[in-house]
Symmetry: C2
Subunit: 244 residues, 2 copies
């Protein structure tokens, strides 16, 4: 069996997230349906990150095993011709048989985008969270960067989705501004369910407090979701890339 690696861009607005589930349109299901049409076989794909409803991706990675002899570039063309226009395959590669998009990932990088001005944006309505209150970007960046390192992120995990191992290592994170947009980017070995949105919400809540870093430390120590800030909405979030 060949092992094919896909890099996928999608607009998550009209999907119930990545992962296949009954009675809901998901990215994984759409790609599997397209593969079934192309290869005439049911094919299961493995995604690197399970993005939630409304979350986008610039570089999600997935892989699948197939007996098909279609060359990678032809797979890409056939998939892009078959998939809905809000899902694009930006790269196809044949990889070694043991490559696993999820387990072999060394890090995932997410970016959260905030529109920080007094009025919303028609053009960015599905891709940036409209937050009209002024943000002290330097303050937010200082608090945010405190997270670099290994931490127990239980306080930032969606309740009801507890993972056995809540320890994640943040390799880098930074917050910066470009005109009206404020970006929060974060790279880690792994993320718990809802973790990025809970972190950004908490940083937004604490960013203009002098004791913000201490408070963030307190939230981490508490290991209790109720101590963190409210999650920011999903449409500002995008899975940027996955490293192997």
């Amino acid at each position: 069996m060949r092992n094919i690696k896909l890099t996928v861009e999608y607009d998550g607005t009209n999907y119930h997230g990545w992962q296949i589930q009954p009675n809901a349109i998901t990215i994984q299901a759409a790609i599997q349906d397209a593969l079934a049409k192309i290869t005439k076989t049911h094919t299961q794909i493995i995604g690197a990150g399970r993005t939630d409803t409304g979350v986008h991706a610039a570089g999600q990675v997935a892989n699948f095993h197939t007996r098909s002899q279609i060359p990678p570039i032809a797979f890409q063309k056939a998939l892009n011709a078959t998939l809905p226009r809000d899902i694009t395959i930006i790269d196809v590669e044949e990889v070694s048989p043991d490559f696993h998009a999820r387990f072999n990932a060394v890090s995932r990088t997410y970016r959260y985008t905030i529109l920080n001005r007094a009025y919303p944006s028609a053009l960015l309505r599905n891709n940036a969270y409209f937050f009209p209150k002024p943000i002290d970007v330097q303050g937010a960046d200082a608090i945010y960067r405190f997270l670099v390192g290994k931490w127990d992120f239980s306080s930032f995990q969606r309740s009801g989705s507890e993972r056995i191992n809540p320890i994640c290592e943040i390799y880098q994170c930074r917050c910066w501004q470009e005109q009206d947009l404020v970006y929060f980017e974060i790279e880690a070995d792994a993320f718990l369910r809802g973790m990025v949105r809970a972190i950004v919400g908490t940083v937004l809540k604490l960013h203009d407090r002098k004791d913000g870093i201490n408070r963030l430390r307190g939230v981490l120590d508490a290991r209790d979701r109720s101590t963190a800030g409210a999650s920011v909405p999903p449409h500002g979030l995008s899975l940027l890339c996955v490293k192997y």
Copy 2:
């Protein structure tokens, strides 16, 4: 009567263009409907540029006369709370009674965006024209800039929409590339119907020919739509700004 100037951003994907018409959803109609709800009076608005179906705007300008005493900032908030999310009022100003968004405009600037790579983009599907063949951007820029000055643009006018005066003055235009995106920007005193899309289509057709400029000159001289290239599709086009 007060005279109110609006600066409007919109995603034209779901609209039949700017101008009001029976049995079709238009930007003008949506704004007039919102104004009627807010002021309790039917109010006609005047737009600077009549964008076509599927064309976007980052800075369309419109004005309307009203007896309402609502302050500009409150008008903006009320309109943005009432309008669909794909139309945003980015500025409201009270202007002199004789200001006319269309007749007083000194120039309009349009930008056309092309995604120039081998595969499409899910995230840009409604805002950039996917054109996979390589573009010689320097060649395109040279031909495009030839248009600066006063010309008879009859050859670039949508047939059936002939304007009495087909002379437009191009103040500036340029074509450049940023990563996978190629932009064509153009500022002129006026534009004929379909003119930008016909120009970009013609430049794309001629850009890699040694005699491209001569051929473009020939198209201008012919004053015949059939001599120009096919129009590029509307979703790559955006009305960037209007100067007064």
